[in-house]
């Protein structure tokens, strides 16, 4: 016991405490553990100082390619993050607090999350939001389970254009629940409306779509909402929140439950996490929403305040009858999302969305000029689009990685007969020069 910077007691203090407890050693406190159960080995290496630890972490970082030029998305996007986001979410009172169980001394978190819920409602055009879920993919699954509960049905129809990762998570979640998951194969990178019509019947709890979808296509799901509602099912849409600066909102389309991943809202790529999932729904569904919800109320003096509300939905009250098992969510990431949205602001989000689309359209046209490359033009796109190469995309992508360019996500790994298709993502962070470089290097790669 040489260091007392994390565990502060000196030997003297420890002795005093042991005496107060009435034992003579710490070991005695572990007496309840039968000796035969005690650990025989413990092979963790010896500790080190924070300085050596930080150096170790730096050396791990150095084993990655940290300046890859990203034209990849697939659910996580390389967006600007205003400096205020780190500074404010880095306030110790935010990040070293627990879930706000005691509202009087947690109004900071509670009010912020109420503001977050408001931002999500306004962004999605829906009535109610929770205080975050784990990520976009699990949010899809939670939404599906919500629809199963609400409708009492046991079938989920999924547009094949939904991110394969979300679809995989959905399948994993539903695997044990006697629920049928029916996928409608994409048509030209869009929802196959005829395919949907074929499977949509009164056993279907929900239809899950995504906008923009994994191919980058942007759609108006308003007619689908009508069709879905006609079958007594709910329409669930997974959305990319930055696109909502520009695109028709789920609320406007008649979507019942909207979900998505909040990474693009002020959360760094960070090798995939933490980000947050959001879920918003029509008011009538509020009691079926999973996770924490913050509600406004007053104290005895009439002062406004915020509390965790409708807790009877949750596991700590309802246990196995809860709307979800979720307990810890991704609160701090949601706070970052709120700060991001509040910083960029109302007009700013529209500007940002347009900037993304402008860059992507520019890239689309540059890539379209490359001999042998064609662009999937079945639908308008936002900041991702699909191109077809004259050769397998995997091969090209692997080659371009070596040049420091992540040129896109090959579709072949996720869709049959798509070996030559590549989804290219262009955010506002990509400069014209970088886009031109992508075009140039892709052309070169295709010539080899």
């Amino acid at each position: 016991m040489t260091d007392r910077h994390y565990c502060p007691h000196t030997l003297d203090e420890q002795k005093e405490m042991l005496a107060d407890i009435g034992v003579s050693s710490i070991e005695e406190l572990f007496a309840p553990i039968p000796p035969e159960l005690r650990a025989k080995t413990f092979n963790i290496p010896p500790g080190m100082s924070e300085f050596e630890t930080f150096a170790r972490m730096q050396s791990i970082v150095a084993e990655n390619s940290n300046d890859m030029l990203n034209f990849i998305g697939g659910g996580f996007y390389d967006h600007v993050i205003p400096a205020v986001v780190d500074h404010l979410s880095g306030r110790a009172e935010f990040y070293t607090a627990y879930t706000p169980y005691q509202p009087e001394c947690s109004q900071g978190t509670l009010q912020a999350l109420f503001e977050y819920q408001t931002a999500i409602c306004r962004l999605t055009g829906l009535d109610v939001s929770n205080a975050s879920l784990y990520d976009g993919a699990t949010a899809c699954a939670e939404a599906a389970m919500m629809a199963l509960r609400v409708t009492g049905r046991n079938k989920i129809v999924v547009d094949g254009c939904v991110s394969p990762f979300s679809r995989q998570v959905l399948r994993t979640y539903l695997l044990n629940l006697n629920v049928a998951v029916i996928e409608v194969a994409p048509l030209d990178g869009m929802l196959n409306r005829a395919g949907l019509a074929e499977v949509l019947d009164d056993s279907v709890a929900a239809v899950l779509v995504q906008n923009p979808n994994f191919f980058g296509s942007v759609d108006d799901f308003s007619p689908i909402a009508d069709q879905t509602h006609g079958a007594g099912a709910l329409l669930i849409a997974s959305v990319y929140p930055i696109s909502l600066g520009l695109l028709k909102s789920p609320g406007e389309m008649g979507v019942d439950i909207c979900v998505g991943d909040g990474q693009s809202l002020g959360n760094p790529l960070s090798f995939g996490g933490p980000s947050f999932g959001f879920i918003a729904a029509k008011k009538a569904l509020i009691r079926n929403i999973p996770g924490r919800i913050i509600g406004e109320t007053i104290d005895k003096q009439g002062r406004r305040g915020y509390v965790l509300t409708l807790q009877a939905r949750e596991q700590h009250i309802k246990r196995h009858k809860a709307t979800s098992n979720i307990c810890s969510n991704q609160g701090l990431c949601a706070l970052r999302g709120l700060i991001f949205l509040s910083s960029v602001g109302r007009e700013g989000l529209a500007e940002l969305a347009n900037l993304n689309r402008d860059k992507a359209e520019y890239a689309k046209e540059q890539l379209a000029k490359i001999p042998g490359v064609t662009v999937l033009r079945s639908a308008p796109t936002f900041n991702e689009f699909t191109i077809f190469l004259p050769r397998p995309a995997n091969e090209i992508v692997t080659g371009m990685l070596k040049l420091g360019i992540a040129a896109g996500v090959p579709l072949g790994d996720y869709y049959e007969d798509s070996a030559n298709a590549l989804v290219v993502t262009v955010t506002e962070k990509r400069t014209r020069k970088e886009i031109d470089l992508l075009a140039k290097e892709l052309e070169v790669a295709l010539c080899n």
Partner: protein, 480 residues
């Protein structure tokens, strides 16, 4: 404080965006566009900063207050861990999933692999997946693995057994995987009644979920027997690792018959809780369950390179978008590396020392329903105070006025008026002594002036809030 939307003025901005260096694209068709922009905040950078800075000041937190919230392990979060996590901000997770992309992510993949190895050693498991995003997510993943295991043997089975002292997530997680729950009451020794347990067991039980030490902070002396019985019914033993902080280096759940475990990195491994999350709930399993682990799974090839396995047909599939809450894992990994063997053992020892110290010092004032040596937390009952009309919640609110975050109250459910105190190992004796004194004053005030406790807190921006009104009105989004 005003809501940020109440501070907004049309046309104002919090940040300037980069200028465009490309031509404006042709407009999208009108039916794809939203009718009007989303009414987000419109506020200057200063007003934004002031708003959130002042909001933050309305929280208690570990960095400002003693925070002995039982079951939550609110230990100090070393600042260097925050710095370390920031280093990884620009790395895109898709890179590792591109053909040939793994080569460019050997650092991150290797760290996840190493973290898995370290956690496997700490828990006595054979392999760990770092994908689950929190404790409850780990539980669900673990139960899915158990279901897959049984299914592979021809019968996924029907029931999951939990003690009545279990955390709500345990039955909820099992239910998410389609199991029915059998709840076994506690015995007078504070843990699941072994006789009732025996009666509850049958061939259709898929798993028994235990927290050990349990939510009363007690180490179950029958744990080996319980797992033997479970295994005799081909039920697997699930370990809720929320209380792992008590036993690092002391017992390995894997040695005691547990087959699956989740750990809460945001409790035991020093990552901050963020006012709700993000957490991280890696799941460790015994060999027999490895084939079912989620995808993508990180493996080391014969050349010592880290590869991403994505197409194992036995796997339960994906439980999350990518590799889990990576940034949280960076912190946990750095924490383990920094504390090292001795540091982790010391953490558990001192956590247990502190909990017993508080228990001893307060037991003259508060009922201890199960008075034995506890592990990292101790549970009182406010039953004596109840005689004066004072509830656990009143004591909690009094503590707020005195600058302490309250302990967990009303959990575990099998203790009436429960007050669950988990000091953690990072608190000094002086802090605990001051807290003990205030707890004693609370007990004294309960006798002398119960109304004072009912009135608390008085020093906060708001007093006790009307929760019924909140639930009734469901005002969960700022109007307008």
């Amino acid at each position: 404080m005003q809501l940020i939307y109440e501070l907004s003025t049309p046309g104002r901005r919090g940040v300037k965006l980069p200028a465009s260096d490309v031509p404006a694209a042709a407009a999208l068709p009108a039916d794809l566009l939203r009718n009007e922009t989303a009414a987000l905040a419109e506020i200057s950078e200063l007003d934004l900063v002031r708003h959130f800075t002042n909001l933050s000041r309305r929280n208690f937190s570990v960095d400002t207050n003693f925070y002995p919230l039982g079951s939550c392990t609110m230990k100090y979060n070393a600042k260097v861990l925050e710095n370390a996590a920031g280093l990884f901000a620009p790395i895109h997770p898709m890179t590792a999933l591109l053909p040939g992309g793994g080569e460019f992510c050997q650092g991150t993949l290797g760290m996840l692999y190493d973290l898995g190895q370290l956690l496997a050693d700490i828990t006595g498991m054979d392999e760990v997946t770092t994908q689950p995003l929190a404790g409850a997510h780990g539980e669900m993943t673990g139960i899915m693995l158990i279901a897959a295991y049984h299914r592979a043997k021809g019968n996924r089975k029907k029931y999951v057994v939990v003690p009545d002292s279990s955390h709500g997530t345990n039955p909820a997680s099992a239910a998410m995987v389609g199991y029915e729950i059998i709840t076994v009451p506690s015995a007078p020794y504070g843990d699941m009644d072994i006789e009732l347990f025996k009666k509850a067991m049958n061939g259709e039980v898929a798993a028994v979920m235990m927290t050990c030490p349990n939510t009363l902070g007690l180490f179950n002396p029958h744990i080996q027997e319980i797992s033997d019985i479970a295994h005799s019914h081909d039920a697997l033993m699930y370990y809720d690792g929320a209380n792992l902080n008590a036993i690092m280096g002391k017992v390995k759940p894997g040695d005691v018959g547990f087959d699956v475990i989740h750990v809460n990195l945001h409790k035991t491994f020093g990552t901050p809780h963020g006012g709700g999350g993000p957490g991280s709930g890696p799941v460790g399993v015994k060999k027999a369950l490895i084939p079912f682990l989620p995808q993508p799974r990180i493996v080391m090839d014969d050349d010592g390179l880290f590869q991403v396995e994505t197409a194992n047909p036995l796997s339960i599939g994906r439980t999350a978008s990518f590799f889990g809450n990576f940034g949280v894992m960076v912190k946990a990994y750095a924490y383990i590396v920094m504390l090292g063997r001795e540091g982790l053992i010391q953490a558990s020892e001192q956590a247990v020392l502190n909990a017993n110290y508080i228990k001893e010092k307060l037991k003259a004032w508060y009922e201890v329903p199960y008075d034995m040596t506890c592990m990292h937390e101790c549970v009182f009952s406010a039953s004596r105070q109840l005689a004066h009309g004072v509830h656990a919640i009143d004591i909690a609110k009094y503590l707020i006025d005195r600058g302490y975050h309250p302990p967990t109250v009303y959990f575990p459910l099998n203790v009436k008026e429960a007050i669950m105190i988990e000091p953690t190992e990072t608190e000094s004796k002086a802090t605990m002594d001051a807290f003990i004194q205030v707890m004693i004053e609370a007990a004294q005030t309960a006798e002398s002036n119960p109304q004072a406790l009912h009135d608390a807190p008085l020093t906060m921006p708001v007093g006790r809030l009307d929760e019924t009104k909140a639930a009734r009105e469901q005002n969960v989004c700022c109007a307008g």
